[in-house]
Amino acid sequence: MQPAAFIPVFAQASPWMFGWLAAAAAPILIHLWSRQKYREMSWAAMEYLLAAVRRSRRRVRLEQWLLLAIRTLLIILVVLAVVQSLLQHVGFTPTTSGRTHRVLVVDASYSMGYKPEEKSRFDQARQLARQIVEGGRQGDACTLVVMASPPRVVVGKPALDADELLEEIDQLRLGHTSANLPATVELVGQVVQAARREDSHLDRHEVYFLTDLGRIGWRPLLDGPAAAAFQKRSRDLAQAAALMVIDVGQPAAENIAVTDLRSLDPLPTPGRRIGLEATLENFGRQPQTGQTVELLVDGRSVDQQRVELQPGGRASVSFLCRFDMPGDHAVEVRAAGDALDVDNHRWMAAPVRRSIRVLCIDGRPSGEPFRGATDWLVYALNPQDRRDEQAPIGAEAAPESALLERDLGRYDCVFLCSVAQFTAHEAAVLRGYLDHGGNLVLFLGEGVLADRYNRELGDGAGQGLLLPARLGPTVDASPGRLDPLGYRHPIVEPFRGREQAGLLTTPVEKYCKLHVPDGSKAQVVLATAAGDPLVVEHTAGRGRVVLVATSADTSWTLMPVWPSFVPVVQELLAYCVGGAFQQRNVEVGQPLETSIVTPAADVAATLRAPGEASRQVPLRTDGDYATFHYDETVASGIYTAEFGPPIDQQRRFAANVDTVESDLTQLSEDQLRHEVWPGVAFQHRTSWQSADGGMTAPILRPPRLHLDLLYLALAMLFMETFLAWRFGHHTT
């Protein structure tokens, strides 16, 4: 270690600390003083003493200089260890010699886009990252990690070329996700460990978190083993590298955000007005009066309203909207601009269908009206009995053979009524239909073979559960009202407060006892008076499956003739088809998926992402289906996928930000130290900008450097003792 290398840094840090280094002159002064202070003695054997002096003059001088140098260095090391410890205590970290590996963790969560002045937080973080790279010395290396959800490594191998790294920093783009501290710590730990493993020439490792310390991203809601694992990873990282958190945020940041946008009608059709509801939230401390909220459809402004927002409050804004043409439409709600633009928008992809196509498979067909298993169902789906193509719901009944004869991919939902059993082939067709976004509603009834259901559609087939519950024996219902289970499920939620609709009084005489497996994600929608599940649903593949334990005809229940039947069936269909609506509207970071039915195997797909040029996306072909999958939704906005030739279809997706990041409340250093990283050594800086407007490159030393210095001083002490003994300076 070269003491001279410390001097400029200490001089910059604090001149009075530099003064302590003058103590290193003590051995020299003592040496000079002792040369002046000696005792006198007459000596008889002078001849031999003089001979010894002549013979040893050069050696003695060399030994004295060596001991003097070691003693001086010893004092320097002790002083530096003490001063370094003090500096670290007060938050200053001087530089040292040796090669340093710096991991730059740039927070790219969208709250970093907050731009109160000329530069956004993200711009400042990038500028700081640049200066850290430029402030490095010859031989230093850097890696670059983006803190987002999920985090990603931009430069994983320690890069010695500063220009290359600066270019990567310049190319960093603000993400539209939130920060994920646990995943980032894990990823950074892997980067540091890889660098320690693969590049032994790097003496130190330093991790710089350039972040706004958003409370949401930096205070992970973990418990149990996950929390323990996070703490362990953090401590391991702090032991492997010096951590510094540089806060580029502002403590009192105002922000409003559009936190929700939803359609009140899950099955929009052309020409029909539907309701849209947007929710705005004020995350700041100042009231926002007369806040303008604008509705845009396919890029055209169609409505505008004003809203009042109290500090910490939220408000809903309702719009009426009509889509004239079928197809996928892009809906946007835009609030007036503030310093954080990303969350001032919320998009929705609205697939407007000319008609919802439903296939009803009748397992017990009858020639007489309303005697078959699906007659009441078809009526309930199309109460107006419209036969034209403009009918909002086009329901058609078909026998069981249609399962194999028809192309199920052309139907939005398939109702299976009183089908006695399924063959393995039929079950495979149904699974394929669900995997590509289809939906199933199963009504049981007379002749249903529960064992065959369980074997082909349940876990007996070994191909994953298609049924949300296992079928048991048929039981007679005990008299009593149905249990809506608190109207929690969306299917029955519209009946809340509308008991006259007759849902609860629906007479069910017989039903099949259903058993929901333990640990299943299936949800019980409605239960019998005895508490047995009557309607159970779950997600299978990319579709939804609803199992009704009773029949769709009047053999087991009078439900088809009950006033609640039509709305129940309508809600069942809306819920199932609404799943596809939800798949079109995702959060940033979630994948976009859809399937199209095409006879051609080589269909091309082109995607236009927000702010980006079109790009080709390969499709995965499976029979008549071609599956589109895209998982790089890094920006919020409308994604448009175009399929063809040979077909010509367009599907739109909306990706929105998770607005938890819109809360710009910062985590304080105290909270960080005690709530997030208790026992983890790190440094926190807020005054990253120096008085002259430039940034002082905050070079870290490992927290234990003062210990290293003390160990070195101890080694010097031993060396001094040994050499003094070896040179004859020891006392005998």
Binding site: Y38, A44, M46, E47, L49, A52, V53, Q64, G728, H729
Partner: protein, 296 residues
């Protein structure tokens, strides 16, 4: 304290009472039947009778016993002979040195040793002489055997003042010429002089067939060099002064000093000179015992 008491500590001398000074080699001949003593009749004391055997000297027949017993008996005498012991005492300035570890200076210690030896020699009616020297002979007391001779020796030693340099080699040559009668030459000195010259002088003693005992008187500090503080060493005998860190030089000094002692011992061994190193912190009894034991 009187000088005699100072040099002749009765306690020390009482312990030495049983010692008998013996020449290791023949000084005046001592083996009966091989040599004849030139000093027969003098200082020969009767011991016992022995029956005559052919070849015995008829002069020692005891005719009175023959007359009474009609048998031949010879008179047996103590196998003693006259001995001359020359005490050669170095009184140069270097002998003045005394470290804190020693109770006496080298000169004082050498004076004690010389006085004790003189006393012992006189106790057995032998002759002892004394020479003090530095770069020249300062005093020379001829050998005598009278008991009162000790007073003169002590007086001469008292008068010696260590102020000058030494020149042992030349002195030894001079003394070898002056000591006409063969005897034991006991040299008490720190021998801080040119070894080659000294050895030449000592060789001269041996050439004159003297039995030479070299008592190399050294201060413990000169042997151990135990100093720690930076010290200005002022050379005695007109040698220069030097300021050194003793700890740094200790090894080198001991090496130099050891080489010097080694040369001295080697020279003595070649000349069949008894060399004994005497530390001034040693008991005088030990020194005398070490010196005289081979001659008992």
């Amino acid at each position: 304290m009187e000088s005699s008491q100072k040099y002749l500590d009765p306690k020390i001398l009482a312990r030495l009472e049983g010692l008998r000074l013996r020449a290791r080699r023949v000084v005046e001949g001592y083996v009966s039947g091989v040599h004849r003593s030139p000093y027969h009749g003098f200082s020969i004391e009767f011991a016992e009778h022995r029956e005559y055997a052919p070849g015995d000297d008829l002069r020692y027949l005891d005719w009175k016993v023959f007359g009474r017993t009609d048998r031949y008996y010879l008179k047996q005498f103590e196998e003693e002979t006259n001995l001359i012991c020359y005490l050669v005492l170095d009184t140069s300035e270097s002998m003045r040195y005394r470290s804190s570890a020693a109770a006496m200076s080298k000169l004082e210690y050498a004076q004690c040793t010389a006085a004790a030896l003189a006393y012992l020699v006189l106790q057995q009616q032998d002759s002892v002489g004394l020479v003090t020297f530095d770069q020249e002979i300062r005093a020379l007391v001829r050998p005598a055997s009278s008991p009162s001779h000790i007073q003169q020796l002590i007086h001469v030693m008292d008068e010696s003042a260590p102020e000058r340099k030494t020149d042992s080699g030349a002195i030894f040559h001079d003394l070898a010429e002056r000591f006409k009668k063969r005897g034991i030459v006991v040299i008490l000195s720190d021998l801080f002089d040119d070894v080659a010259k000294m050895m030449t002088g000592l060789k001269h003693f041996r050439h004159r067939r003297h039995d030479v005992i070299l008592l190399h008187v050294l201060d413990p500090a000169e042997l151990d060099f135990p100093f720690r503080q930076i010290t200005m060493f002022k050379g005695l005998e007109q040698l220069p002064e030097v300021v050194v860190d003793p700890r740094a030089l200790r090894r080198a000094y001991l090496k130099e000093f050891g080489a010097y002692v080694h040369r001295l011992q080697q020279g003595c061994r070649m000349q069949q000179i008894d060399y004994s190193q005497v530390r001034t912190d040693q008991s005088l009894e030990v020194v005398l015992s070490t010196c005289l034991a081979p001659r008992m």
